[in-house]
């Protein structure tokens, strides 16, 4: 039973991960390891590097994020990610759909939909 619940949670998370990454980048540019770490700080949102890097690569291909190399105090330069203008409007859109869905689900869960 616990395993079924974990799988369900992971399905939810996968869909939300893109939105969360865009929201993090909206507050300022981050490099790959930082994104992984920021997500790890939030229980329920942690995702492996193996999930995040392919997603970042897809976001870059889609033109939603831009990248810049910046010097690092240790080791080789780091690749920083930031929102592109297209990414900013994508974030607005995704935030609105997320709120709509969350509100609708909440409504159903609390039994409000039966009155409609």
């Amino acid at each position: 039973m616990a395993r079924v619940r974990d799988e369900r949670a992971s399905q939810f998370r996968k869909g939300a991960l893109e939105l969360v990454i865009l929201a993090l980048l909206d507050r300022g540019e981050l490099y790959g390891v930082e994104i992984v770490d920021r997500l790890a700080e939030r229980p329920g949102l942690e995702a492996s590097a193996g999930t995040i890097y392919p997603l970042l690569s897809r976001l870059k291909k889609a033109g939603v994020v831009d990248t810049t190399w910046r010097e690092s105090p240790v080791g080789p330069p780091r690749k920083y990610y930031r929102l592109s203008p297209a990414g900013a409007s994508e974030l607005t859109e995704m935030t609105r759909s997320w709120r709509d869905i969350a509100a609708a689900i909440d409504d159903v869960l609390t039994g409000g939909a039966d009155d409609a």
């Binding site: 790959g32 890097y53 392919p54 690569s57 897809r58 291909k61 910046r70 330069p77 690749k79």
Partner: protein, 303 residues
């Protein structure tokens, strides 16, 4: 909606909407639909079965969408096999550069075993190995790294498979008089041959297998405007095949002269991965360094 079509008419209607598909994918989709319709027709009658599937245009759109989904997942670097047989993934579509890129060199994906590009089984993700070895980070290599590979390095990588094939040819020609009438064509796990064939046949097949892939690929690879990424990935795939051909030539000749052992075979297998790995890693490392130098002028590589 009720137009009383026969199965044949319905299939023709769907086919008309699939004009943009490749012949193989279209035929597969239609064959699948036909068998589905035939089974349903047995149960509920031909007209009802056809009617139940709905508008041919909608059905065709569904097929296109499903295939597009696979293509999109492929392009974003999450290789999807076409299906599974005996628990192993299979893919019988031809090897495209996108598919080589997403399977053989995909540092962002930590899986080392990827669904194989062509045939049944797995292939090794050399990009994941480079990351595991700490040689690069998962997101180091981007499109720009390929474009900044020094021309000389790219030229050398493109020449290497040809060189290996030429060396295999020379080795076999020189050793021809010393080869026995029958040559081993299969080796057991212990590294000892367990099946033989006439030498002209063995050498002929080996040379055809060595020469055909480059012969078919280079005209396209060398065409003006072919992206550096396509050239590098294709060259690495050819490098793997050329290493195998070169290795088999060496083992065959050494074996005929009494010098081959299990270690030779192991060496060939190792080379089949080491050679493409270096063909990808070294040029990309140089491209990456050029990218860093351009972006962070004060600091070169920094490590």
């Amino acid at each position: 909606m009720r137009e009383n079509r026969t199965i044949v008419e319905y299939l023709a209607a769907v086919q008309a909407h699939l004009a943009s598909l490749g012949a193989t994918e279209r035929d597969d989709a239609l064959a699948e639909l036909e068998s589905l319709l035939r089974v349903e027709a047995e149960r509920i009658g031909e007209m009802a079965a056809v009617d139940a599937v709905g508008d041919p245009a909608d059905y065709a759109a569904g097929i296109l969408e499903a295939l597009d989904f696979d293509a999109a997942a492929d392009a974003e670097g999450r290789p999807v096999p076409q299906g599974h047989v005996l628990g192993m993934p299979y893919d019988f579509r031809g090897a495209s550069v996108e598919r080589i890129g997403s399977r053989v060199w995909n540092p962002a994906d930590p899986r080392i075993l990827m669904p194989r590009m062509f045939g049944v089984g797995w292939t090794i993700n050399l990009g994941a190995i480079a990351v595991k070895l700490g040689l690069i980070r998962p997101d180091d290599v981007g499109d720009e790294s390929y474009d900044r590979i020094p021309r000389v390095a790219l030229a050398m990588v493109l020449v290497l498979p040809v060189l290996l094939v030429a060396m295999a040819l020379v080795i076999l020609l020189i050793a021809w008089p010393s080869l026995p009438a029958e040559l081993p064509i299969h080796w057991g796990v212990s590294g000892h041959p367990d099946d033989w064939a006439p030498r002209a046949w063995v050498v002929g097949v080996l040379l055809a297998l060595a020469i055909l892939p480059p012969l078919l690929s280079y005209p396209r690879l060398l065409r003006r405007g072919t992206p550096a990424r396509s050239r590098l990935l294709a060259a690495a795939a050819l490098g793997m095949a050329a290493t195998l051909a070169f290795g088999i030539a060496v083992v065959t000749v050494a074996d005929a002269n009494g010098g081959a052992s299990g270690n030779w075979v192991l060496l060939v297998v190792l080379g089949m991965f080491a050679v493409p790995f270096l063909m990808l890693y070294v040029p990309l490392r140089l491209g990456l360094r050029a990218e860093w130098r351009a972006a962070v002028p004060t600091n070169g590589e920094g490590d």
